[in-house]
């Protein structure tokens, strides 16, 4: 579980996060949504420890990140997996080396044990026969799978995903969404996903946090989002013609 309390973050004179409080539960996919510039990425980076908030605190389990010693913070980071928007795979390494990287850094295991673990997670993300390819030789969807495999290879307690299906076709995006959700349930991970994709919201939104102008404007889940009368949320979620028509149809009882 991740608990965020009264989080404030600003850059020079610009207040980006203005007192966000929420809780992300273990074993469920938690989505952060909002317009561009609403503070989603800054919020995610504060949770990842890449930005230091001016006020408020973030608790991983029962421990506040701010109060942890540098050594404990490093230990905590080993329990965090991250799927970046662009994959952030190391260009000079093959798929296998990329996935093995966290194990080589931290695990006390033999090379064959590490290789077994790498093959196990690559199989889990349905990516076999790509071990010796470089990131530039595989598709965007495959890169995302490698990124997911690298994020889960150390069996993390927390998984963060920054726009995991951006730049992917709808079918691959759904596959990636489902994969993240399955992994979250299977390994009981606290997963936080930063997304713009409304398909993800309706597919895997077990908890949804809507940010607007640095404030938490709404929170709920994929079922509640259909019923909400919060205008800023409905304007955002139903901004596309397709979703608007679906909503109208639902309201008419079709």
């Amino acid at each position: 579980m991740i608990k965020v309390e009264n989080l404030h973050k600003s850059f020079d004179d610009l207040d980006v996060l203005k007192g966000i409080s929420t809780t992300f539960e273990k074993g469920q996919t938690n989505l952060i949504i909002g317009q561009s510039g609403s503070g989603k990425t800054v919020f995610l980076k504060c949770m990842l420890g890449l930005f230091t908030p001016e006020e408020g605190y973030i608790c991983f389990g029962s421990e506040s990140y701010e109060e942890l010693t540098p050594k404990k913070r490093r230990e905590l980071r080993k329990q965090i997996g991250m799927v970046f928007q662009g994959g952030a795979l190391f260009d000079s390494m093959t798929v296998e080396e990329n996935v093995m990287f966290p194990l080589r850094m931290f695990a006390k295991a033999t090379k064959s044990e590490m290789l077994d673990r790498v093959n196990e997670v690559l199989k889990r993300v349905n990516l076999t026969n790509a071990n010796h390819k470089f990131p530039s030789e595989i598709s965007g969807g495959m890169q995302k799978r490698v990124s997911i495999a690298r994020a889960i290879v150390n069996r993390p307690k927390y998984l963060f995903c920054d726009e995991p299906n951006s730049g992917l076709d709808p079918r691959t995006a759904t596959v990636i969404d489902n994969l993240i959700q399955e992994i979250t349930h299977e390994f009981e991970i606290t997963t936080v996903i930063n997304t713009h994709d409304m398909n993800s919201v309706f597919e895997i939104g077990e908890k949804i946090v809507y940010l607007e102008g640095g404030h938490l404007a709404w929170e709920g889940n994929k079922d509640l989002i259909h019923k909400t009368n919060n205008k800023t949320v409905t304007d955002f979620v139903y901004s596309s013609n397709l979703f608007r028509k679906v909503r109208v149809a639902q309201q008419k009882g079709y």
């Binding site: 490093r74 230990e75 905590l76 080993k78 991250m82 260009d91 080589r104 850094m105």
Partner: protein, 245 residues
């Protein structure tokens, strides 16, 4: 004000580079890789430039020696002094600022742009130690490159002088050995080691702290070359003043 803050940030980077070391086996592989990329792969261009500059120095000196009272052995002496004292340690380092420096800035800058450095940090790895420390260690082998440059430069000087008909081979070799002060070689290698450190760290600084996209990576490479060259030239003056005057 920006310069002061950047200077401070540079020294903080140096301090952080030597903290929280990466796992030994990983670091060893990275150092070997960097030695290959930064020094071994630069040998070709260094040898090529050194040979021809050595040759040109000899021809220029010979053509300017019109006075019959000045012995021809001075050609060998002048070639040795200019190659060992200045050309190889300083000007090869400036050439390396263009080759190695741009490579370091663009590779680290690209990692910054594509969030690979963030990925390292999130994993709990000291990205500065992982990225910069192997380059610093690899560049400590740079004096070997400069030693080769000195040897090839003098070889080029001999070839141009003797085969070009400017000086007799024996006279050239006599000039080469004339008034040789061992400390001048020590001075040359002391500054080479300092330049090696600058070559590894200044371009890393420009790559690591860059902001923006691919266009900014290009700009950072150019800025890094300019600053590395400026710092090498200023340090060259200070070291020369301290060690030789």
């Amino acid at each position: 004000m920006d310069y002061i803050s950047s200077t401070g940030q540079y020294f903080i980077m140096i301090k952080d580079t030597f903290k929280r070391f990466t796992k030994g086996s990983v670091l060893r592989n990275l150092i070997i890789q960097e030695m290959n990329d930064l020094t071994v792969r630069s040998l070709g261009i260094v040898v090529f430039i050194s040979f021809f500059i050595g040759a040109v120095v000899t021809i220029q000196t010979a053509l300017n020696l019109n006075n019959p009272f000045i012995p021809k052995s001075l050609i060998g002496f002048a070639a040795r002094q200019s190659i060992i004292l200045e050309f190889s340690p300083t000007f090869v380092s400036i050439i390396m600022a263009g080759k190695v420096g741009s490579y370091i800035t663009s590779s680290i800058g690209t990692m910054r742009v594509t969030e690979q450095i963030d990925a390292l940090e999130i994993m709990g790895i000291n990205s500065l130690n992982y990225l910069v420390f192997p380059k610093v260690v690899a560049m400590m082998f740079y004096p070997f490159v400069i030693a080769i440059s000195m040897f090839v430069g003098i070889l080029g000087a001999y070839a141009a002088g003797v085969f070009g008909g400017f000086v007799d081979g024996d006279l050239f070799l006599r000039g080469l050995q004339e008034d040789f002060v061992t400390f001048q070689l020590v001075y040359a290698f002391i500054k080479t080691i300092i330049f090696a450190f600058i070559l590894a760290t200044v371009p890393s600084f420009h790559g690591y702290y860059m902001k923006g996209g691919s266009l900014e990576v290009g700009k950072a490479s150019t800025t890094s070359f300019v600053w590395t060259s400026v710092i090498i030239i200023v340090c060259n003056y200070i070291i020369t003043q301290l060690l030789l005057s």
